[in-house]
């Protein structure tokens, strides 16, 4: 019984990795590839750690595995945000595939009236293209 649960969890986690691999090869631009690439980082790791916890047959391991997963859960959105922002700033995306670009309005607004001191400017807005991407 335990072996069946472990097998299902392991195969599910491996299929997440396979989905990420296929998505990386098949998807057309950076943002859609990012969508595929985050599957094994969070859900795949969760399934694999669950398999390890079920396989060890004890609760003593669970806090360590939760710590491991929470660490991954905290770091992977940050790195995905950095990669996505760098991709937006350097125009590594295909605009014809976007249905909505909410940041475009902010950029146009900030570039439209630079003399207006009270203009709302998002701190995320890529106003100068050649800044140091901080």
């Amino acid at each position: 019984m335990v072996d069946v649960v472990v097998s299902v969890l392991l195969i599910g986690g491996a299929l997440m990795s396979l989905a990420a691999g296929i998505g990386l090869v098949r998807f057309p631009d950076l943002l859609s590839r990012m969508h595929a690439a985050t599957k094994p980082q969070v859900l795949g790791l969760l399934l694999f750690l669950l398999a390890l916890a079920v396989d060890s047959r004890s609760w003593a391991l669970v806090p360590l595995l939760v710590l491991c997963w929470v660490f991954q859960l905290l770091t992977s959105p940050v790195s995905a945000h950095m990669v996505g922002r760098a991709g937006y700033r350097t125009r590594h995306l295909r605009r014809d595939l976007l249905t909505l670009d909410e940041l475009d309005d902010v950029v146009a607004h900030a570039a439209g009236d630079p003399a207006h001191p009270g203009s709302r400017r998002s701190p995320d807005a890529p106003v100068e293209r050649d800044d140091d991407a901080s």
């Binding site: 097998s7 491996a14 396979l18 094994p40 980082q41 790195s79 760098a86 350097t90 991407a133 901080s134």
Partner: protein, 85 residues
């Protein structure tokens, strides 16, 4: 159980090959960073698989270290991407 382990290893290998293909072909450096992130996740999955097969817990520290390296690597590369094409 043995057959399951071989199947999981095969699936992970195919996924790693696909990610390596994107890392080699990737038109921009961000695609390569993304593909290498996926490879790091697959390496973590393989470490867990190794722990399940051999019934030990030695790789947990490696798992945390690998995810930390992936995080620092992708953030660092994304920080230094410039607009030149």
């Amino acid at each position: 159980m043995t057959a399951v382990i071989y199947v999981v290893g095969g699936i992970l290998s195919v996924a790693a090959v696909l990610a390596v293909y994107r890392a080699v072909r990737g038109p921009s450096i961000l695609d390569r960073v993304l593909a290498l992130d996926v490879i790091v996740a697959i390496i973590g999955a393989a470490l867990v698989l190794n722990m399940v097969v051999n019934q030990h817990l030695d790789n947990l520290v490696l798992l945390v270290a690998v995810s930390l390296i992936g995080f620092i690597g992708s953030v660092t590369v994304a920080r230094f991407v410039t607009d030149r094409k």
